[in-house]
Amino acid sequence: MKKSFYLPAIGVIALGILLPQFIKISYFYFAGYIVLQFIILSTAWNLLGGYTGYVNFGVGGFYAIGAYTSAVLLLHLKVNLIVAMLAGGILSGLLGFGLGYLTIRLRGIFFAISTLAVAIIIQMVIVNWHFLGGANGLYIFRPDPIWPFSDYLEYLFALMLFVAFLAVMSARYIEKSWIGKCFIAIRDTEEASECTGMPTFRLKLFATTLSGFMMGVAGAPFPYYITYLEPYSAMDLLITVNSLAMPLVGGTAHWLGPVIGSILLGGAQQLITVSISSEWNLLVVGIVLIGFVILAPGGIMGLIQRGRR
């Protein structure tokens, strides 16, 4: 485990630092950041939605909590971005913990609806809270670039690359561990899981909390990325839709699924935004999602695994 973690980790850090020395196109990092952000979000969504089968429609809410927590800390306390990311993650993780309590009584579609409600409540609170800028939003200025990066965006890109790596690695570790097996047992049949000695409630709390934490961390650097934070862009429908479409396209049963889905769907969206129009984005996600759900319910990883057999 150790060797298989540290070597790639060093590789990822090196890549994040070296890439900007060679590729100087600013748009690459602008688009790449979004793809990386969705790798984190979709991996986080998949921990709960893919493994345990509890569908979260409130990703935007978790993301916004991360983004606003960090914006407030960056503006008022001038903390380091990494501290702000941890704080955003913890607050969002707490919301996840609360959501975990809902699973005592709410299963299936009822859980999904309540997550949607939670996201709407969060948006309402943000829009009406003057301290958070309300509907007017908040302006955040990027600090000076950090050596060895010549642009702060490049630093954000490298940071997101590393965080995405950590997120994917933890998903992989969980998937291969007993916890992962228990998650899948819960998805298969929660009643039998409990009756065979699994602490299903504690396991679900773990999944919702970790998933929430990751989503908060993914949202925390957004204020520096966008430099103007307002409730509608921070809680864009696309964030939630993408976070569940990407794992479904890539395959929910394997930790690589969300990664593949994010790169393909996220990459395609960035291309379409530049080449056709940004309005086409959502339509493309919708069509691809419907296509996959009908033709390849196991996603791309499902197709690959079926091909191997």
Binding site: W178, C182, D188, A192, E194, C195, T196, G197, T200
Partner: protein, 240 residues
């Protein structure tokens, strides 16, 4: 002197109507106990209350001299209460072997080597007679094999008390006999068995003591002969 392993004391459960009403049932250590009754009489509800899937609305449950009335379901499972489901609920995306390694892992408490857990799982599959299916998924099993998997998974918990919810339904005459031999054997190894069954031949030959539920109320208890000759039981099953 027989000591009780499971004591349900005046257990009640309401779903808007009384599904169980002041039911007293005591199962002794090492006993083969039968629970019968017409459809909807509360047999499965009783199992759900004992395993902790449902909480009682009145009364209490003692297991191994401990009050488990408010204990969570998974903790009861770890204490040694295992069950099968009337409608099989296998872990559908795992192999048959993994269906057993998960409960084994939690029953053993200590983190044993993966290989020893798998060995034990294979031993149980061999005992039940589905070892050839160890590496297939549950959807490739027949109904009968699925029921055997239910039993195997329950055994993987190393139970003190085994609750069987219609595990024989759909089995042929000779398969029932085979299963009864396995169950007798398990019982001789010290596992107490509470059997819910509609197949009277199996219940009457297997159980030492039988209780009868009707509309949530215990109407009779005794040895198989007493139950067969009980007028109340006849009325519950056949009407007046």
């Amino acid at each position: 002197m027989k000591t009780p392993l499971l004591e349900a004391k005046s257990v009640s459960k309401f779903f808007g109507f009384p599904a169980l009403l002041n039911v007293d049932i005591q199962v002794n250590r090492g006993e083969r106990f039968g629970l019968i009754g017409p459809n909807g009489s509360g047999k499965t509800t009783f199992i759900n209350v004992i395993t902790g899937v449902l909480r009682v609305d009145g009364g209490g449950v003692l297991f191994d001299e401990k009050d488990i009335t408010t204990l969570q379901c998974y903790r009861r499972a770890r204490l040694g209460i295992a069950r099968t489901f009337q409608i099989p609920k296998p872990f559908i995306s795992m192999s048959i072997l993994d269906n057993l390694t998960i409960p084994l892992r939690y029953a053993l408490h200590t983190i044993n080597a993966k290989s020893s857990i798998e060995d034990e799982a294979m031993k149980i599959l061999r005992l039940i007679g589905i070892e050839s299916k160890a590496h297939v998924k549950p959807q490739d099993l027949t109904q009968i094999e699925m029921r055997k998997l239910e039993l195997a998974r329950a055994l993987a918990l190393r139970p003190k008390l085994l609750l069987l919810d219609e595990v024989m339904a759909g089995l042929s005459h000779s398969e029932i006999d085979d299963l009864l031999v396995i169950l007798k054997d398990l019982n001789e190894q010290g596992i107490t068995i509470l059997m819910i069954e509609h197949i009277m031949r199996a219940v009457m030959s297997f159980c030492e003591r039988i209780a009868v539920l009707n509309a949530g109320v215990k109407i009779a208890e005794g040895n198989p002969e007493e139950i067969l000759n009980n007028k109340e039981v006849e009325k519950a099953y056949l009407g007046e």
